[in-house]
């Protein structure tokens, strides 16, 4: 039923550009000052013939598994090259989703990293079928190939001194926060995860955070625990106990507002992963811009390129 899309020419394992998570190549180099022919317009311009290697690759990954985890979410694991498997928490991939009978997604679909395993050379995604792209993803089975492009964007960062953080997410944001669990543990940082959903059976990432030693607090609409007032009460308790030295959040404007208020009150830093419709995913097209408040001035930033993780205090919920 699914027809395959045109694919890129790199296959899993061929990609050579290993880059450390979050270590961006410089975005603007200083100009050469010794340009000997700057009065000439073109081809004899001096240039750096530095060896070049990709740090973002479009590659054909192979599906390891693609199973549903609850009534809404599917968990996709793919085998990929070293560059992709080095993805950092908060980064994302652009997936070229298979065509199905009724849906022919033209653009790639951005999908945040749910897990990355450099040793096994795997990257994981958690998705809910909501449209043409994810409909196609759901048709994939073990052994199928999928064209993935990444890792993209700026992910979450950890201060090595950070001892206690709170990760707060809701809906699809829970998938984005999930890789924080492992990264925080590696940093020696304790995590309290406040995970919000409509109903308890729709919560994801609970076991994942638990397995990494995090305390998980579930908040659901059906139990009446997900409202901003209750979350604020929980957060104030954590702040009192010295267990909230930074906020990491994704997926809820309401909860973002609560955290921003508390962050201002107590001087706590925070990082937020933003979501936005994207086309290119790598800073070219400016379709994913959002407004940010930077020292009182409203500036537009590209979620795919300057983000998707931003300073929580600059985000406009």
């Amino acid at each position: 039923m699914s027809s395959k899309r045109p694919v890129s020419l790199v296959t899993a394992g061929q990609a050579t550009g290993l880059d450390l998570p979050g270590s961006d190549t410089p975005r603007s180099d200083t100009p050469r000052s010794d340009n000997p022919c700057s009065d000439k317009p073109c081809s004899d311009k001096p240039c750096s013939d530095k060896p070049w290697a990709p740090t973002v690759v479009g590659e054909i990954a192979v599906v390891v598994s693609n199973a549903s985890v609850n009534a809404e979410y599917h968990h996709l694991i793919v085998q990929c090259g070293t560059a992709s498997a080095a993805a950092a928490p908060g980064q994302f991939f652009q997936l070229l989703c298979p065509h199905t009978e009724g849906a022919h997604p033209f653009l790639r679909r951005p999908m945040s990293v749910y897990g990355a395993n450099p040793e096994r050379r795997q990257v994981e995604f958690l998705y809910k079928v909501t449209g043409a792209g994810t409909l196609g993803l759901a048709t994939l089975g073990p052994g199928d190939s999928i064209d993935i492009m990444g890792p993209l964007g700026v992910g979450f960062t950890f201060d090595p001194e950070l001892r206690h953080i709170v990760a707060i997410g809701r809906g699809a944001g829970l998938a984005t926060l999930a890789p924080l669990a492992k990264a925080a543990r590696a940093n020696g940082t304790a995590v309290t995860a406040i995970l919000s959903a409509r109903r308890p059976e729709l919560l994801v990432s609970v076991e994942l955070f638990g397995s990494q030693g995090a305390e998980v607090i579930a908040a659901t609409d059906s139990e009446g625990t997900s409202g901003p007032a209750n979350i604020e009460r929980v957060l104030r308790g954590l702040i009192d106990e010295g267990r909230c030295k930074a906020f990491y959040t994704c997926g809820s404007s309401r909860l973002l507002r609560v955290q921003q208020r508390l962050a201002r009150e107590f001087g706590i830093p925070g990082q937020v992963a933003m979501e936005q419709q994207m086309a290119c995913g790598i800073g070219l097209c400016y379709c994913c811009v959002k407004d940010f408040n930077v020292a009182g001035e409203i500036v537009q930033r590209r979620v795919c390129w300057e983000g998707p993780v931003f300073d929580m205090m600059e985000a406009l919920p």
Binding site: P6, S8, L9, T25, R27, S28, D29, T30, P31, R32, N35, S38, D39, K40, P41, C42, S43, K45, C47, S48, D49, W52, P54, T55, V56, V57, G58, L96, H104, P105, F106, L107, R108, M149, Q277, A279, C280, G281, I282, G283, L284, C285, Y286, C287, V289, Q300, W305
Partner: protein, 315 residues
């Protein structure tokens, strides 16, 4: 060794493949070796600071993309301080795309950018997203002539003029640009288009209308390149739905001296590199020593001339 070089006015490009304006930025250096490109073409810059259009700015349709980005621009000082120095580290010539609301301001911007490090000006007189109903200078021969004349007088740099596919009289507009002093034509910008959301009954784009690009428009713009190339003597640069080597070759046969690749980069970020590699392979397979020999080589009438036999070798 296949010679991939082409001449565009006074400029020699190492190969005929370059990005379409608005689909290229520094971030792509994570994906491809910039030194392999025929040229750089920047996102359109304006003198004024522009925020761009309301969101949503893109919507996909079968085989294509409608955008109404609306030329967000950080202005000239930012360009001179950041963008221009950045590209000096690379070998391909830098073509700067510009736009302005009036012919006078177009000329002033071209003059301001006539400086070392910039190899050519691409005048975007055809953006469908910044004027009401997609109006642009390139919609008519008269307004094209007016703006190109002023641009020509303002800069000594090679002047490329990007035309719109939305006019009913493209060959006349092309001739107007040529006689006003353009060194090359870029054919073409996006096709004015629209999409409506059946859930909300609202337009899919914040700006209501936008420009269609991608494979869906290729046969239309290919025809327009053919029409322009046979009516002007200056080089025509083909731009419209090119995703593969085959698309690029088809454009060159229709008369394009070079090609611009845009939307394809959103799907396959290294598309331009694949196209360049594919051109060499194509020429090798067909025993064509110079890619420039493909320019305008479409056969529109029966011929038994022996020197044309190479276009259809026995397999």
């Amino acid at each position: 060794m296949i010679d991939l070089s082409v001449r565009i006015g006074g400029l020699t490009l190492a190969n005929p493949v370059m990005p379409a304006s608005g689909t290229f930025a520094e971030g792509l250096d994570k994906v491809m070796d910039f030194n392999r490109l025929g040229a750089f073409v920047t996102k359109t810059i304006t003198r004024e600071l522009r925020a761009g259009n309301p969101l949503p700015r893109v919507v996909e349709r079968p085989g294509g993309l409608i955008n109404s980005i609306g030329i967000p621009s950080k202005g000239v000082p930012y360009f001179l301080d950041h963008t221009l120095p950045y590209y000096q580290n690379y070998r391909p010539p830098l073509v700067v795309s510009i736009s302005a609301p009036t012919a006078e301001e177009f000329a002033a911007l071209a003059a301001e950018l006539t400086r070392p490090g910039i190899a050519a000006i691409e005048a975007n007189i055809s953006c469908p997203n910044i004027e009401e109903d997609g109006k642009a200078f390139a919609m008519s021969a008269a307004s094209t002539e007016a703006v190109v004349r002023q641009l020509r007088a303002a800069t000594s740099l090679p002047l490329w003029v990007k035309l719109t596919p939305n006019t009913g009289d493209l060959p006349e507009v092309a001739r107007a640009a040529e006689r006003s002093g353009a060194d090359a034509l870029v054919v073409a910008n996006t096709i004015l288009a629209m999409a409506i959301d059946l859930q909300t009954f609202k337009p899919c784009l914040g700006n209501i209308m936008g420009g269609l690009s991608g494979p869906a428009i290729k046969p239309i713009v290919l025809r327009q390149v053919y029409q322009c190339a046979r009516t002007v003597k200056i080089p025509v640069i083909g731009c419209g739905g090119i995703s593969t080597t085959e698309d690029a070759i088809e454009y060159m046969l229709a008369g394009a001296a070079a090609v611009q690749v845009g939307t394809a980069t959103f799907i396959q970020p290294a598309a331009m590199i694949h196209i360049i590699d594919g051109m060499t392979k194509f020429c090798e397979r067909r025993e064509i020593s110079r890619v420039a020999d493909l320019i305008g080589a479409v056969l529109t009438e029966e011929s038994d001339e022996i020197e044309l036999a190479w276009v259809a070798p026995p397999r």
